[in-house]
């Protein structure tokens, strides 16, 4: 199971070992600042926005269609943006680092 690191807007790093589920679920379970995920992960609220570093984009994969529609209109979204509820963690993502985008 992968290890993932969240960097919050104040620069604080939190690393979670043996992460399982979606990246959003891991973040909320560990109360990562800035990941509210108020819709619980159905891709409705856009309050679990993260930015994936270039080197991880291929392994994490692109925005899906619904997610793209949501992020297209979100302030602060760019090509590295993902909604963490849409990232199902796999062993390939071991070492993943994401920046939490401030709400």
């Amino acid at each position: 199971m992968p290890k993932v690191t969240f960097i919050t807007s104040d620069g604080e790093k939190t690393t979670i070992e043996n992460a399982i589920g979606t990246l959003m679920e891991v973040a909320t379970e560990h109360e990562i600042e800035g990941i509210d995920a108020i819709c619980g992960g159905v891709c409705s609220c856009a309050t679990c926005h993260v930015r994936v570093a270039d080197e991880w984009k291929e392994k994490v994969g692109p925005q899906n269609e619904t997610e793209k529609d949501i992020l297209d209109m979100e302030d602060g979204a760019d090509d590295n943006s993902r909604l963490s509820c849409q990232i199902e963690l796999t062993d390939e993502m071991d070492g993943l680092v994401v920046e939490v985008v401030e709400l």
Binding site: I38, C39, V42, C43, S44, C45, T66, E67, D69
Partner: protein, 402 residues
Amino acid sequence: MRWTDLSLKSWNSKDFQLTMDNTSCPYHDPFKKARQENGVMETEVAGEKIALILGYKDVRSAAREYATFSSDAPFRVPIPSEEDARSVRQLPIETNPPEHKEYRAIVEPFFRRPMQKDYIAKIESLVDDLVENAIQQDSIKVITEFALPLQSRALTHLLNVPEKEADTWVSWGVHVFREGNSNDSQKGQALEDYIHQQLDMAKQNPGEDFFSALTRAEYQGRPLTRDEMLGFANLTFAGGRDTVIHSISSTIAYLSEHPEALAALRENPKLVITATEELMRYISPITHIGRVCPVKTDVNGVQVEADSRVALSWASANFDETVFESPEELRLDRKPNPHMAFGNGTHNCLGAIHARLIIRSLLKKLSELQSITLLSAQRSIEKEVDYERELGYKNLTVTLNR
């Protein structure tokens, strides 16, 4: 977004078929034809010409284009407008960025409290008490004996005031501005009198409650004016009232007709999350919200005159078949579900976290039941010149069976 009072003057209620998930019911998606044709419905609400924006992407986009579709319009964000129902601009909803951001930040900490574990426990306990009490009764009138007390008592936690304060709020009825023989200004004045009283008390004896927070708050480096305080509190009471009550009653009605849904929730507690979102999409407790066009604006070929209004139709967008597969089917496990039941963009509903918690807690508790027997039901119908839409219940009586 606010959860506006939906008991419009033109509403009627009558008996309708109860099922919420059959496609033959013409009231689920009254906007379908117009949405598919050009995405706009030109209509009239309370004598005012309004263009309803219906397509999902158009609504999302319009919610962000505040220069074109402005919220800087006192009394004119709700539909119909509320000049007769209150004396102040509601805050933060009736402002545009950048003012909106600072206004919203003043109250946001209160509305984020429902994410805290102890707050969640309090609401779950409240729901538990109310359901256990209801189980003991032969039958319950859901609106007056369950949904209204639940909404009001839950609000005391949001505002951090004693739960007994809910007794006063319950006495106001389902709607804070309109009901029975009272006219808008009478009910509206009663609410404003109450808020003034609470603010006076908070000023004299400040605590950690919402009213005290307003008396301490600053905007652009100065204390809030009394009208601004009133505007915040007014929205707080009006916004999450009938919307929450409709959501509670519709959820109970749905579960009464779908025992298999109760069983599914019982077997898979995680379903509570997606079920809540899907119920909210399906119920869409606020049909639409208004925006003012400062200049003459073309909306998909419809000319909206300067200072006239459009409406962002959340209810239509949430049934847009280009986004939601089989939108008239209520699927408890729908995911993704990018609905806009709580609005969208910078004005998204301040009370959304609290409202979701109420419905999640309710589903969790009700899933312990064997069944809910529906004894009688009378739906509320939002009846306008060009459409009718089912929304909540006027009366709903059920028995909860453990």
